[in-house]
Amino acid sequence: MAKIDLSALSVTEANELIRRYGAGGEDVEVVNPDAKHHIGVGLTEPITVRVRGSAGYFCAGLTDGPRFEIDNNVGWGLADNMLQGSVVVHGNAGAIAAVAIRGAEVVVHGNIGSRAGQVMKEGTLCCAGNANFMAGYMMYGGRLIVLGDAGEQVGQDMTGGTIYVAGRIGSLGSDAVQTDLAGEEDDEIRAFLDRYQIPFKGRLQKIVNEGKKLRYPRNEPRVRAIPFFAASGDSAYWNAKVQEDIHVKAQIGRYRIRGYGAARPIPHLSDIAFKRDLRNLPADPDVVSKVELRTSLGGRFGAKPLDLSMPIMIAPMSFGALSKSAKLSLAIASRLSDTSENTGEGGMTDEQRAEAKRLIYQCLAGRLGWNIHDMKRADGLEIYISQGAKPGLGGQLMAKKVTPEIARIRGIPAGIDLRSPSRHPDVLGADDLVIKIEEFREATAYRVPVSVKLGAGRVKDDIKIAYKDGFDFVELDGMQGSTGAAGNEVLEFVGIPTLSAIQEAMDALADVGGVEALPVVLMGGIKDGVDAAKAIALGARAVAVGTAAIIAGGCISCLQCHVGHCVVGIATQDPEHERRYNVPAEAQNIHRFLECMRWQLASIAHAHGYGEVHQLSRDDLVALTPEAAAITRLPYAPEYRQQQDNDQVGGKISA
């Protein structure tokens, strides 16, 4: 057995050594652990690791296969996201023990802290002592066994899985119900306890999901919906769209759900313009070679940065919201255009990874599809805090779209109305986020940039936190950004416009002296290279396109993404509908659209006499409306609006 002394080595050095011993099949003993964080993070070999003392946060986190034994206590997040293997703690565990586990067995002989087993999907957490507040919170599957007492709100919002409590149950959580325990099941539990040599002679009570919350029994009536974009054509009150809305709500008794983002007119990049008259420029097919478009993101802390050929990326969209075919064509297009793709929520597929040259892997609060193996083959790791369409809220994937394959990747039961939590189990403040970023870096040996996805809410505060907490870059999404499914009122009225978001972000960075240090990637209604140029002029390092990319790939903007019967095969998991999607053709379409954006961006920069696209600045812009002027503090120059009204003809650009 190899010995590692944490009083002589840093945790990072120790973890490197542990992984190396793991590769050699040698067991490890860690002495003087001193309750340090991240011990054993990222280990994917089936060795035994013995911690001679207490461990801090995320001990055995992001692992697959090892057996850990901790002599004393552990802090938060024990065995975070552990795929397989086991952990035995002889003392107590802090909050969120066994968070997001996907098949491991975690045994704590002492007591466990609050929200134990939060968002766990498979595997077993067993506590011989007492559990605290909200044990089993938002479980998707697996077993939680408490031999002592459980605190208040046991099983709160659980979707699947089973909780067994031998002692007193403080109170049941919402949507949790006590039910009978079958003899066979009881035997299985006792066999588990025997295996871990935990003596138990008592009786177990069983708690499962009652299944009453967040079910949608009534669908909207099947009529051709008036497009949401038509709402504010005439009167703001009782126009045809508002009437339709009320008629539908009277039948279904709940809010309406749809796809996309804010549909009503709000300030946007179209409300600002370039000062320079770009109407009569000659078309130059060679202009792309005359402007430096290459953009590097994510090298702030020594990781291997994303070297993009241009400052235009594909925005995060999930496999689940989108079909596998749609995701595949996005990946191919991103490779052909030499930029990056993003997995969005719901995990990485082999096909995506094979096609995309640069793939950012996104981690959401439900940890759906999140695992250490995909972390190691990603080019970027992204912590999703929120998105522009619905900042502050979690997500929904309707049962129809939760196919067996998606369920398998995400680690959840198939056919459930999947709710993604709004908040990470282990990020409840800026200080927690620092430790979480550290855990990700530990797991990937500091090789990979860690970014944050932020929906535009309190952007000024959030950007300052992102800067201080040590992210490599930010993906900032305004309320024009889309989603696969959310309540209409949320999409229309929660969040702030993309234009406001970028301005607040720049103001925040100026306040803390971080303008050069923290790149901001702007998204949310970016529809062409002109928008991209304006965003960059306002201070964004790059932009990302989501909706525009899928429209290029065939989307007809019917906004019924949530139904699962997307007629072009993009926002569906139904094989019949997906069959309609021609991957190679659509990949070329998306690629051509991205190239058009590249050409527009280069043309605008070149027209200004710049050799480098990031030379575009605020000095090149004016505001066309009083709102845009107030938001951006650009000079108000409505006389420039005339330029906007010209059509784009041939090689001429209107800006």
Partner: protein, 197 residues
Amino acid sequence: MEREAKLSSIGESLDIIKDVGGAHDVDEIYGVEMFHGTHGIGHVRLATESDVAPDASHPFWATGFADIAIVHNGQITNYWKMRRRLEKRGYRFNTDNDSELIAVYLADKLKMGSTLKHALETSIDDLDGTFSFLVSTKDEIGYAKDHLAAKPMIKFENDELIAIASEEVSLNRLFPGQALNTNEPPPGTCDTWQRLT
């Protein structure tokens, strides 16, 4: 110089030190290690707004109320509402930092005749948001933890001392090389310890 100087606290038996740096840096300048006393609280702040400035850091005290100090981990979400109420009753706030509210709130309760323990009990229901905080008065030390248990706190107690910290690694400094038998206070709880006279 007089315009630049900011009052940190006035007290009879409580010393408040605030500066920029880690615990060791503060010790080097102020000799905290040499301090002779019965109890104390400490805090390191991750400043996310503009400046890393000592006046925005913890501990906070209550203007006009001597010898109370608090340190806090979390966010008080009904800060402005509670602050307005207390300002109407004559209290002054020196910063816009939500943690300062806790000190003023407790000072107000103590002034009205409450015990520290009772003041902490009411704070758990009156304050909205996430919090684990410690309070120190002339004779007592105490903690309170919110109902959600969102912010960490770990406790070690023996016949001679009570020690509370956010993480176990801090407590381990008291007894190097030993694994301590610590426990986590349950959510929505508070407790106090009195100085033996």
